[in-house]
Amino acid sequence: MTTVSLTVNGQSVTADVDPRTLLVQFLRENLRLTGTHVGCDTSQCGACVVHLNGQAVKACTVLAVQADASVVTTIEGLAQGGELHPMQAAFREHHGLQCGYCTPGMIMAAVDMVNRKGSNLDEQTIRAELEGNLCRCTGYHNIVKAVAAGAQAMVQNPVRQAAE
């Protein structure tokens, strides 16, 4: 077993883990943060995207021990003070989700996209940038709309992202 210490959604956590434990397993099974999902075993689907030190990563591709001393934000940590993050609100407003399973990863990837690319995202950019995230329900039409609207709203309503 190996000891890891990191900050998750603003809380310090320390745990002994089997060295082969993936970050996504650590989040789901040790911390019971089940909003981060697992949809594949080849890092293709993006359901497990979280932010590691402010950048989107697929939590199935990171060992928990690699996240030692890092700052992690999951979907549960995105909303602040009981208010939805603008990207969360945009997914709801634009019906950018159906079954909800890919949604946490989509939203975390979308926030990262805005952080990297700015708020004026055209359709082509959004579609290209979503290449790491699969959705089987929506046909992406409303996800694209939601990301564009969420990006604009993030500028108009800048929110502090916890500990990032």
Binding site: T34, G35, G39, C40, D41, Q44, C45, Y101, C137, T138
Partner: protein, 787 residues
């Protein structure tokens, strides 16, 4: 229309939990003392099992138990079942081979279940599974659909030529006569490619047993928890029905693949009692590719007969349908009664004859996948109609229009009685929205840039609901296809609706609440929709076949009518008026012609305190249930137009425009309906351009991950132009037809018709990958290069 009533684009109530990571899917549940199951699966497509030595696994760290098919048999656990009996032409019943949850004697596909390890952790279970020694006598495999009946390989003892059934529908003599007098016959050979459903949430099961009460609980990724409970108890025999609670919580997409009752949930419930611990299994994606029921996989030859004016005279179809290694829960109905009755399309076809051979192969079982039989039928009809129009030199849109059914009701030669529709209205609207008038200009513009542009139509019809129980019973179904609802009004006037439908992305918590809000005149946040738990909800049939609006909501509407009728009786006592004088309007029970009225909440309270009426004359309380059995299929229909541009140098097909005009009857929430259409189109485009499950000759699934099986991604798809026409469905109280599968049904022929239009020839199969299209371009434009 109120802001939250029928027709309003209400934002979904369920989304708050989904966008914040608070959804609760099966794998999110963990029970005290939980152990983990891992299934050892067959690495061979076809092999006899000489022996299984579990000894080395049993001594591995953390292992609680290892079970094989012999252990299930010793406990008299039955095999998995197929719930729809199909009879062959000669009247003989289909040949159903045994389907044990854990293999006995033989394995029949790669991924077949050989043994299960139960251990303290998943990693320990996986490690131990590797230590099990299985002595296989590897046999040759049969994989190809078209070769199954001529193969020397025999998948099941019950069928010497791997034929499950030779089934037919329609009038052979009348169809032969129609072809005899035809001026033109168009022939087509089609392969409907095998697909893997791939909801992003993999299947999962968590079984639990309480020895104190002798109660079992199963958390499972199911579209129909009551049907799962019925099959697990009455047929498989893992637990008595009244002792088994099945919970299907938030479910991350289904698309058909979560209808069926699989080996894994059977074993988890049974094993929980054996090891006296909760037992959890969660599929990984590779297991999902190997063992979720696949979809489609047809090989078809079809012919369309026309007269000299282009009027369709007859249709003849022969299909071989691959059912895989075992008959999955509803597999036999998909290429038969969910397929051939749709072969009339939107067209007035006097004579139709269809033969279907269902066959076994050493591949994963095939069952319903979004559309289930109707996409296959639509692909046959719409490819054939398009090809016929081209051969006759007629405009494909106008050829369709000339053959549209225009009088309703319309009895087709293949069972269906279409109740209503206006196919030309959808075509007209679609042509306008697609700017068809200027297509040739766009085609010239593409040509100037060295690109090939094509346009393709799909004028589809489907059947939803699914149908009256009596009707499906006469066709071989083992179940009825009604739906149930209970409306519980609380003393404070809030309402719980318990529905037998199940929501796994469709947004029932919102749309069903809209209906209640509309009918009772109460705010939508005063309504809770309860589903997915057999301990809470009365028996129900679940969600598939686009049935939850047309059938599920009709049951709720019926129960609401009873609530209002009871409320009138209560109000009459309180208002001291005759029951016949009470009107219910805008959420108030009032005395006609006066201003005396009670709000809905006041009547609810009076119903429960029962101070104003004798409990002997009128029962206290306000809670009503209903079972709604449909009186017909519903018939959503529409026109989709796909416009593509092909880069001849790379073979890449780009969808430039997508226009969909659908008639779903009355729409409860247009935002949700549009979302369903988008998702359906995406899956249909996936089938047409990207997706295909491929087995090699030895029966290895070579497309068993998202690396190898090409799922549609955001950049593969355009934004869609979606609109509707409305002819209300006359056969249910709400006028709803259903929308969940339309896109997946309409899309594949629209895409392929567009590509073949661009190519100028018909020789392309699904999926039309860049490589396939590049070769087809060479064939069209550089005949020498294709050699």
């Amino acid at each position: 229309m109120t802001a939250t009533g029928i027709g309003a684009p209400v934002r979904r109530k369920e989304d708050q939990r989904f966008v914040t990571g608070q959804g609760r899917y099966v794998d999110d549940f963990n029970r005290p003392g939980q152990a983990y199951a891992y299934f050892l699966r067959s690495p061979h497509a076809h092999a006899a099992i000489r022996s299984i030595d579990t000894g080395p696994a049993l001594v591995m760290p953390g292992v609680l138990a290892v079970f094989t098919g012999d252990d299930l048999a010793a406990d008299k656990i039955g095999g998995l079942i197929c719930g729809w009996m199909i009879h062959s032409k000669d009247g003989s019943p289909m040949k159903a081979g045994p389907h044990p949850a854990l293999a006995q004697d033989k394995v029949r596909y790669v991924g077949d279940h050989v043994a299960v390890v139960i251990a303290e952790t998943l990693a320990q279970a996986k490690d131990a599974a590797e230590a099990i020694v299985v002595d296989y006598d590897v046999l040759p495999a049969v994989v190809e659909t078209a070769e199954a009946q001529n193969s020397s390989v025999q998948v099941h003892d019950v069928s010497s030529d791997n034929t499950v059934f030779n089934w037919h529908l329609g009038d052979k003599d009348a169809t032969d006569a129609a072809f005899a007098q035809a001026k033109h016959v168009t022939k087509i050979d089609l392969v409907n490619n095998r697909l893997v459903p791939n909801p992003i949430e993999p299947r999962a099961a968590l079984g639990e047993y309480d020895p104190g009460t002798d109660n079992y609980t199963l958390y499972t990724t199911s579209q129909n928890p009551h049907v799962a409970r019925l099959v697990l108890s009455a047929f498989i025999g893992v637990a008595p029905e009244h002792k088994l609670r099945v919970i299907a919580p938030d479910v991350g997409g289904g698309f058909g693949s979560k209808i069926f009752i699989y080996a894994e949930e059977t074993v988890c419930v049974w094993a929980a009692k054996k090891v006296k611990r909760p037992v959890k299994w969660t599929s990984d994606r590779t297991e999902a590719f190997l063992s979720d029921a696949h979809g489609r996989d047809h090989v078809t030859r079809a012919e369309l007969a026309t007269d000299d004016s282009g009027k369709i005279l007859g249709l003849r179809v022969h299909t071989i349908a691959n059912l895989g290694a075992y008959l999955s829960t509803f597999s036999s109905s998909v290429p038969t009664y969910l397929y051939a009755p749709l072969l009339s399309g939107q067209y007035d076809i006097p004579a139709i004859y269809c033969e279907v051979d269902g066959v076994y192969t050493n591949t994963a079982p095939v069952d319903a996948y979004r559309g289930a039989g109707r996409p296959e039928a639509t692909f046959v009809v719409e490819r054939l109609v398009e090809k016929t129009a081209r051969e006759l030199g007629q405009d494909p849109a106008e050829f369709r229009r000339r053959n549209y059914i225009t009088q309703f009701p319309h009895q087709t030669p293949v069972i269906m009685a279409y109740d209503t529709g206006d196919y030309a209205a959808s075509l007209d609207k679609a042509l306008e929205l697609a700017d068809f008038a200027n297509f040739s200009e766009r085609k010239r513009d593409s040509a100037r840039r060295g690109r090939l542009r094509g346009i393709g139509f799909s004028s589809y019809i489907e059947a939803c609901g699914i149908a009256p129980s009596q009707a499906v019973g006469s066709l071989g179904a083992g179940v009825g296809l009604w739906e149930s609802a209970e409306v519980r009004v609380n003393p404070t006037g809030s309402v719980e609706v318990l529905t037998g439908s199940h929501s796994h992305g469709q947004g029932h918590e919102t749309t069903f609440a809209q209906l209640v809000s509309d009918r009772l005149g109460i705010p939508i946040d005063q309504v809770s929709i309860v589903h997915g738990d057999t301990d809470k909800v009365q028996f129900g049939m679940g969600t598939y076949g686009s049935r939850s609006g047309a059938v599920g909501m009709s049951a709720i509407a019926k129960a609401l009518d009873k609530v209002i009728a009871k409320g009138k009786k209560v109000a009459a006592h309180v208002l001291e008026a005759a029951e016949g004088d009470i009107e219910f309007k805008d959420g108030k029970f009032g005395v006609a012609g006066t201003d005396r009225a009670l709000g809905f909440g006041e009547v609810a309270l009076q119903a429960y305190i029962a101070h104003k009426f004798s409990g002997q004359d009128l029962e206290p309380g306000l809670k009503e249930g209903a079972f709604y059995d449909p009186t017909n299929f519903t018939f959503p229909a529409g026109v989709h137009i796909c416009e593509v541009e092909i880069d001849p140098d790379t073979g890449v097909t780009t969808i430039e425009r997508w226009t969909a005009v659908d008639d779903f009857g009355v729409i409860i929430n247009p935002m949700i309906v549009e979302g369903q259409v988008h998702g359906g189109i995406a899956q249909g485009v996936g089938q047409a351009l990207l997706e295909g499950a491929v087995y090699d000759q030895s029966g290895q699934l070579v497309t068993a991950s998202f690396n190898d099986y090409c799922m549609p991604r955001a950049a593969d798809l355009p934004s869609f132009q979606v609109d509707v026409t409305v002819t209300p469905c006359p056969s249910n109280p709400l006028g709803i037809k259903g929308c969940g599968e339309a896109g997946a049904i309409a899309a594949p022929p629209a895409v392929i018709n567009a590509i073949t239009d661009a190519l100028g020839h018909e020789d392309i199969s699904m999926p039309a990958t860049p490589q396939a299209v590049w070769r087809a371009v060479r064939k069209a434009h550089m005949p020498m290069a294709a050699e």
